[in-house]
C-alpha cells in the first residue's frame, strides 16, 4: 500500500510540468541585472506587470488557458534586464501536454534601488590633526604621511 501511494504520487507529479526556474530568484538587485528563465521543455511566458501570463477562469470558456495579451515569450536572445523594481511571473507552456499545457506559476520580486547603481562617492578628503609645532621630526613625518 505504501509503495502504491509513492508510485501514485510520483505519477501525479509527472502529469504536471515543473514551473520555470528564475535566476536570480528575487530580492534587492543592482540596476541592469539580467534575469534568466529556464525550463525542461516547452516555452516560457512571463509578465513584468504582476499579472498571470496565463488567462484563466475557473469556469472555463474560450479564452481560458490562453496566453495573456501582456505575456512575453522568453528567449535567451532577448534577455530581461531589470531597470526598476518589479514582480516577474512566469509559466512554462507545452502544448504537447493536452491534459494541462501550463506549469505552475513561478514568481520573483525584485527591488532595484537607483542609489546602488547611480550614487558614487567620488572624492574623500581627510584633514588630520595639526602636528605638534615643537616636534620637528614629527612634522616631517606627518608631511610624509600626507
Amino acid at each position: 500500500m505504501r509503495q502504491w501511494l509513492l508510485d501514485r504520487a510520483a505519477w501525479i507529479d509527472a502529469q504536471f510540468m515543473r514551473p520555470p526556474q528564475i535566476t536570480p530568484s528575487g530580492g534587492p538587485v543592482p540596476s541592469g541585472t539580467t534575469v534568466t528563465l529556464t525550463s525542461g521543455s516547452g516555452e516560457v511566458y512571463y509578465t513584468l506587470d504582476g499579472t498571470d501570463p496565463r488567462v484563466w477562469s475557473p469556469a472555463g470558456g474560450r479564452a481560458s488557458g490562453d496566453v495573456s495579451p501582456s505575456a512575453i515569450r522568453y528567449s535567451p536572445g532577448l534577455p530581461i534586464v531589470l531597470q526598476q523594481s518589479l514582480v516577474l511571473k512566469a509559466r512554462t507552456l507545452d502544448r504537447r501536454n493536452t491534459y494541462n499545457p501550463w506549469s505552475g506559476l513561478a514568481k520573483a520580486s525584485y527591488r532595484v534601488d537607483a542609489w546602488q547603481s547611480s550614487l558614487r562617492i567620488t572624492e574623500l578628503m581627510y584633514h588630520p590633526v595639526d602636528p605638534d609645532p615643537c616636534d620637528a621630526i614629527a612634522q616631517e613625518a606627518y608631511e610624509y604621511v600626507r
Binding site: 537607483a114 542609489w115 547603481s117 547611480s118 550614487l119 558614487r120 562617492i121 567620488t122
Partner: protein, 43 residues
Amino acid sequence: MKNIGTGPIHVGGLRFTEGIRFAFPDLELAAGVYLILAKDPTP
C-alpha cells in the same frame, strides 16, 4: 558624492554607518548633481 545616473535619487533614509555616522535627510539629488558632506568644525 555624485549622482551619475540619468534620473533623480532620493537619499532620504540612506545612512553612513562605518567610518562616519550620518543619516541623510529627505533630499533628492537630480541627475549629475554633486553633494558635498562635511563635518561642522565648530560643533
